[in-house]
Amino acid sequence: MRLLAIVRSTIALSWREATAYRFNFVMSFLVIAVPFLLQVFLWVAVFSGRGQVAGYSLSGIIVYYVLALFLYDFVHPAVLYDVSNDIKSGELAAHLLRPLPYPLWALAVRLGSQAVYLAVVTVVVGAGAALLSWAGYLSVNDFSMAGLLRFAVMFLAAWLLGLLFSLAASFAVFFTEDATGLSKLVSFIFPLLSGSLIPLDMLPGWIKNVCHYLPFRWLVYEPIRVYSGQQPLAQALLATAGWLGLAVALVWWLWRAGEARFTAVGG
């Protein structure tokens, strides 16, 4: 119970910190909205004079990108710089004295700051979808309530999986001292291999085969297929749970091994 209260307070503090910089907060709307609009323009041009492309209709592909946009920033694995800084600067030593295990604390901080962003993204994506409906690119019928509920379940699973991968990447700092390289590498390959750049079934066969054996597709492409009913929810959850188990084991192993190596000189 006490542990839960600490986690809740950590999330609340992170929310307040994220909303403190209002200009950045407002600008983050534009960072999401305008590039997305350009993607819509591109696909409208691609579908010009065509009813279907690779089995997708125009509204189908726009719904795909609306959902991919919603998912991307939450599931995108990246080095958490506050975690890597704690390790590099030695501030982790202070955290080790606290009653909450550090990996859990780091997850709670991230959940709190991302909860703010989730509110922003939900508003922007919702408003964007309404505008697209008004402009005639989408219709309300393109969104099914049952599909959205299935998607919400998959979103939570994918969010947690993405966070665990981010934590694992951050704990790599215990061994490499600088995880910038790893972070860059993931940020380069993730958009293509997760299906956020383009649906995986539109890619050439050899890339599709590579994607099949990687966890990234369960972060973007498969949750969208669950929404559209092309992938059964239970099957997708089972597969994601498998990757979650692997991710937890990896995070725990990296944490234990890293903690054993960790040294800090206080002042």
Binding site: F23, L38, F41, V46, S48, V53, T180, F188, L197
Partner: protein
């Protein structure tokens, strides 16, 4: 000082900067190589993205594959040259405003904007530009298309213009640091926009959007405007007026901001 002596002096300075860039590469080899891998991956993924679309739909808004390849190559040349010559330099302006080190620059007996624009050279940018040039040459090869000589000349001029537009637009953003202090989100937004430079102009629904993304947010300048010279040089040549205009505007904005500058330094 004679013109010849002045040119020799500037060439020596450029050579010195190239030498320093080479030394920086030797010191941070892993980071440099990683950057190159990233550039290659980004280029590869852009090509995969568009080729996947072309394999399912024959064209994008009437644009054939070769023309989009030309856009990809051109965008990489512009981005590479900007990264090589200016990117890390002009960031010193917002950093200087934030930590007060701009005061030092203001004491130098030279044009401050010029000092902040030139300096460090990032060799990685030249490699990106070289990759872009390779793709552009492939798209230009006789098998694909054969432009007239004057069209190629206008294309080259517009390429330089595109780098100046990117520089001036970035300088305008950095100048906002005098009023906002932190411009990182604006810089991120601008870079996000330039990621869409390879989209053909045909995807913009009407002339209002095209004008907005040429003048207000100069995304179309990063590839479409220079590449248009190869299709329609007589019209594209008129765009050459814009880069000096935007550069002049950035100078005016910088001068205006300087008049309101209060040092944060200690």
């Amino acid at each position: 000082m004679t013109l010849r002596a002045r040119i020799t002096r500037y060439l020596r300075m450029v050579a010195k900067q190239l030498w320093l860039g080479w030394r920086a590469w030797r010191s941070y080899r892993a980071s440099f190589l990683l950057g190159i891998i990233g550039d290659l991956a980004w280029l590869l993924f852009t090509i995969v993205f568009f080729s996947s679309i072309y394999s399912h739909a024959g064209d994008i808004g009437g644009w054939p594959w070769a023309d989009v390849l030309m856009l990809i190559g051109t965008a990489h040349i512009v981005n590479g040259l900007y990264t090589a010559l200016f990117e890390s330099n002009i960031r010193r302006l917002s950093a200087g405003v934030k930590n007060g080190s701009l005061d030092r620059w203001l004491t130098y007996p030279a044009d401050v904007q010029l000092l902040l624009t030139f300096g460090r050279i990032n060799l990685r940018g030249f490699l990106t530009a070289l990759l872009g040039a390779g793709i552009t040459l492939y798209a230009l090869s006789p098998v694909v298309s054969q432009p007239r000589l004057e069209a190629v000349a206008i294309y080259a001029l517009l390429l330089v213009g595109a780098v100046i537009v990117r520089l001036a637009a970035a300088f305008l953003i950095e100048t906002l640091a005098f009023f906002l202090v932190n411009v990182e989100i604006l810089r991120a937004l601008q870079n996000e926009f330039y990621g869409y430079a390879t989209y053909p102009a045909a995807v913009y629904p009407n002339w209002v959007w095209k004008l907005a993304f040429t003048v207000l947010i100069p995304v179309l300048w990063m590839a479409n405007i220079p590449a248009a010279a190869l299709r329609d040089p007589e019209i594209a040549v008129w765009w050459l007026f814009f880069p000096p205009l935007l550069l002049a505007l950035s100078r005016k904005a910088f001068a205006f901001a300087l008049r309101h500058y209060q040092s944060a330094g200690g």
